[in-house]
Amino acid sequence: MKVMAQMSMVMNLDKCIGCHTCSVTCKQAWTNRTGTEYVWFNNVETRPGLGYPRTYEDQETWQGGWVRTKRGKLKLRAGGRAKKLATIFHNPKLPSIHDYYEPWTYEYDMLLSSPQGQHTPVAKPKSLLSGDDMSISWSANWDDDLGGSTATMQDDPILKHMSEHVAEELEQTFMFYLPRICEHCLNPSCVASCPSGAMYKRVEDGIVLVDQDQCRGWRMCVTGCPYKKVYFNHKTGKAEKCTLCYPRIEVGLPTVCSETCVGRLRYLGLVLYDADRVGEAAATEDTRDLLTAQRSVFLDPNDPEVIEGARREGIPDDWITAAQRSPIWKLIHDYEVALPLHPEYRTLPMVWYIPPLSPVVDVVASSGNDGEDGRTLFAAISQLRIPLEYLAGLFTAGDTGPVERVLRKLAAMRSGMREVNLGREFPEETAAAVGMSGDQVQEMYRLLAIAKYEERYVIPTAHTEVARELEEMACSLDFEGGPGMGGAGPFGSSSGTPTPVAVENFHALSARQTADSPYGPSTPGRVNLLNWDGNGRPSGLFPPDEPGPSGPGGGEPPDGPGSLPGGRQDAAPDQPGGFDGSAR
């Protein structure tokens, strides 16, 4: 037994309202740079739908993940090492930009600079790849809320595996949102696909990262990942992927997507697992047994033997405690309501999902029945085969059993808690019907519905013995567009040594952002020329004038407004540098 810790996530799909806040904040934090316009480390898909990139789940086409050979060995679906090297000059299974979408911007400048005329100027969309006019025909969430789904939904790879009649009915029966990030798999096929060895799984917390200095841009990881969550930065020529916000995780903060989730549906915590058994579990013969196999790889953090093993592997005690308090472990093991996304890819993904009950409730309620009643819900769950089969296609390789059990637990919680809200006792028989106790269901309710911040996120900090090095450790993604980064150098985009992201930068930035005046220097004795418009004398550069009636700039501390610029005597005296700004 080799105990390892994995930072993992569970998302409660019942609570996702499809607002894309996670996607937007993630993009602002990580991929708002050139070359990553089309990169969404986090995206939210409407299901049924095509996903992003389009039909990524169709592994017959994209060849991601692993397959089991006849001899019971695991093999990369896109081909083993020899085939990887043979096709290195052209990766045949790489999605093109059109399978994602062509990134664009709008000609906003036209709105301001076009001459006066009869017609209102328009900001036409311009391709960010070619600079040409383009008509926008797809994006990262084009089929959001089933928009245009009559034209595209039949291409949903999950639906294709279900029977024919289903597709037509499905749109009327249910819809839900699926937020996706990198799965940080226990058996990552992207890492296995990387010829350069630039991708790795961190020993401490299992986060899968790309070493940007070692990546040579062979693009095999993009093919290898069945979730298509490794992206190719087309400007820097390097692979980039969700980092699980490791700089935040290391200091005990939740990821940006979790922190900003308005539905509070994300959970973060540790899971202990037996690294020696990962390969064996991933090679389980029947894909429908992979869920059980993956569960059997996890180790109970309360088991003394596991604790002993964890200590032997150098896992610190606070991490073991965190694993014991982990909401992930509770949802996966204690309540058994979380399921992995596409276990059939054999990567042992570590972002799990609680399948949504809401579509079932909606159907029951819209048919005039009581959508909160336990027995009605139980009956509906087993009768509504279509949602069940669809969810099974996502989470259990097509086995409806585990999905049904989860939905029944959620139904029991929903109907039981209504009784409690009405002032009655929690109905033990409802809980017993799903194999739980009333107390356990109420505990689960607390975790899922109340979802306190400190219960959702149990994140042990990285150990600070190396804190000083951390200060200067450049973040693997902060190249183009980061502080002090240049544009295209002679060797291509962002060549050269990056400016490290340092605590010093961080504090300087935050001081500037929180300074009272954007004009004055932030530090006494220092002059900020950035806001000087070239007229007059920059504030604080010269010793103050003799006190007199000349102006308010006189003898004030450097923070105060500077002397008035020569040519701008008409400007109001309290507006330094002639700015019309109001900040003071």
């Binding site: 990887k84 090297l85 790489l94 990552p188 890492v191 060895g197 961190r202 450790m473 291509g492």
Partner: protein, 251 residues
Amino acid sequence: MDVSADGIIFWVVVPYVTFAVLVVGSIWRYRYDKFGWTTRSSELYEKRLLRYGSPLFHYGLLFVVLGHFLGLVIPKSWTEAVGISEGFYHFIATSMGTAAAVVAVAGLLILIYRRRATGPVFLATTRMDKTMYVFLAGSLLSGAWATVETQILAGGHGYDYRETISPWFRSLWYLQPEAALMAGVPAAFQVHILVAMLLFALWPFTRLVHAFSAPVQYPFRPYVVYRSREASVSSRAPRPGWDPSETPRRH
């Protein structure tokens, strides 16, 4: 034999300077610009032409390189010792070399056309790329022309470069350069060699560096790579001024 000053410059000075630039430049680039050390693939923009052009060019080039190795590094006496006659050698080298050259040139033409004709690919082309393409195409075409002119059109066994160019090439490596050997070499070969040397001098400063990172270790490593966070942190060179304070040792 007398060697002219030109001969010394072209066949002694230039090769060594080229070699020095290649080695020092590559080390410098690796240290200064690991992040820029990539293929900078444009496959995301365009796949259809790349699918043919890139494998044709690269595989053709691999055979071209193999051919150069056999012709330049293996002495004539060795092949004769194993019973390969000059006629047979000439036939094999010319036919295989021509085939490889045709494949590589065809690939290169597709790639250059693709680079020019596909908007996003052309926009992603740096000035360095364009310069590199001139020298890359120059070496390939001049080499192909040298083969055609001296080996095919000339008839017979063609020009026996293994009497002149190859010994000169090897002499560079054991540091006793024999520039005189290059005096009578046909102009086509001389041009080819000079253009190629310029390409090698340019090499470290272009995207061609990706050739040095051919993933030869990939078949021999375990599939899943684990790295410790601490290892990645401590592998960074310590910044100046952070030497630990140690107790001075008394003698």
